[in-house]
């Protein structure tokens, strides 16, 4: 039995290595010369939110490496992932930006002992849901529909903003260092496009080669 299990594990690892060898990846850096806005002065619920919060519309390092940008590979489909969670935490949506699958659902919850609402709006302004979370610890799951970008607002803390990029294509969000990686991409030529809540960048053609990463960079304005 133990021998069989070991064989199974070895087989799975071997398959994964073969699959990795047959696919490539894309990695790179997103940067900008734009600067973030001045911090937000909080006048509501200061005990919970604090007196000041950073404006997170543009989060970049001193060298201009930009976080919270989403790179999407057009035409590279991905299987469904786990249901995402939007947490209301110290009067901020955490994470600020996340990926979601079309026709899936999202959970929203709160750590704050104040009334928050999570209002999800499509790009055309239509609200798909708006739920109240008056006490911490409640978790509410709501369906989301077709691909696109969903904006999250809190009706009691107007500075709060979150984003969900709804896509069934391969995508990644840049980290605090501006870096992103998309693995397991079949070899071929694709268009890589980038989304950011406040900045724009041109799409690029990239060619993926099996077994090695392809490096690209985006400059957003």
């Amino acid at each position: 039995m133990g021998r069989l299990l070991a064989l199974g594990i070895l087989g799975t690892l071997a398959c994964a290595q073969i699959a990795a060898a047959q696919t490539g990846s894309v990695t790179g850096t997103i940067s900008t010369t734009a600067k973030g806005a001045v911090p937000i002065r909080v006048t509501i619920d200061q005990k919970v939110c604090g007196a000041e919060l950073p404006d997170e519309a543009i989060v970049a390092t001193a060298q201009g490496q930009l976080a919270n940008a989403v790179v999407i590979l057009t035409g590279v489909k991905r299987a469904a992932g786990a249901e995402g969670t939007v947490m209301n935490d110290k009067c901020r949506f955490a994470p600020r930006v996340q990926l979601a699958r079309p026709n899936s659902s999202v959970k929203t919850s709160s750590k704050d002992p104040v009334l928050h609402t999570t209002q999800a709006q499509l790009e055309n302004g239509r609200t798909i849901f708006n739920v109240a979370i008056p006490v911490p610890g409640i978790t509410i799951s709501k369906p989301i529909g077709a691909a696109g970008v969903i904006r999250l607002n809190c009706n009691t803390h107007p500075w709060m903003r979150g984003w969900m990029v709804v896509t069934d294509e391969a995508a990644a969000i840049s980290g605090a260092d501006g870096r992103f990686t998309i693995d397991n991409v079949p070899p071929g030529t694709y268009e890589a496009r980038v989304w950011h809540e406040a900045l724009k960048g041109a799409p690029q053609k990239i060619t993926i080669t099996a077994g090695k990463p392809t490096e690209i960079s985006f400059q957003l304005k």
Binding site: K47, V48, K111, N130, V131, P134, N155, H157
Partner: protein
Amino acid sequence: MWLITLLLAATLAVSGQDQPQPTTIPEMWGAWCARCHAQDGTGKIDEPTVTVEPMDFTDCKLTTAEPDADWERAIAKGGPGVGLSPQMPAFEDSLTAEQIRGFVSHIRGFCAERGWPNGNTNFPRPIITEKAFPENEFLILPAISHRNGETEMEIKGLYERRLGKRSMFEIGVPVTNDGVDEVEAAVKHALFSNTSSIFAVGLEAAVSRAVTVFEPFISAGTMVRDWYLQGHVKVELPTDRLKAERAFVYNAYIGRDTNGSPQTWTLGVELNGENDELALTPQIRKGLTGTGALAASVGATIPLNERETRGVRWVGYLLWEYLEPWRARK
């Protein structure tokens, strides 16, 4: 033990649950709802966080006119549940049904005046039966019948306006194949109203070139389970009995909604009588907009007797509650 205490304290601090949470409806109102609706329910606050100004709950004609079910739906489903602003969030996942009912009661309490008829008796309007609840409505009521190759058509415009807490006046102008020959004016007063029943009296005068007919009437309505029961009785008293006959008119309606939305279908049937003539009017009504401020109804008045002289009459209305927002605000 001290370690457990420390861990528990740390967990509570991180989760924010060390903050005292409101437990009563007034406390919850103050902590949550007052953020937009103000502590006093006026919707006027110094630092609004929403772009739509909430309605003034101290305005009794707003807080008393609609049934509890509509208010409960607004709290549970949020503004879009009743065709209002999506900036009002849904509380159905965070409050119990009992708490939601408590908030409705709290909101009703912002109306400090007594004597307004209870919104729970604001039943859907039947096509022919006069409803008892005073309304602010404008209606177009078409009616058409075919008999012996002839088509009889009537379109009546009706304007209704509330007067004070419990009264209403209305003016109606019917237009027939022969043009305008009559103007109707009426006043109505709700004498009694509780959480499920209402009773009103009124007087209508139909003035034509030939004769004036005075029509004292009573209207009543009640709710039994989910069924609306409404009744209306009037006597037609012409000033000249050579030109018009006295008549005893009686109408009864039973109906129910198919769901709790303002855009619900309402299915109903009326029994319509005038002296010895009897008819049934099955009908269907629908709220046309998210707020239900626009609605339409259509039905057919089918004679139950004296069919040789009476045919089927198609009837209906298009209704506009002109003081209500007819569609949602962004």
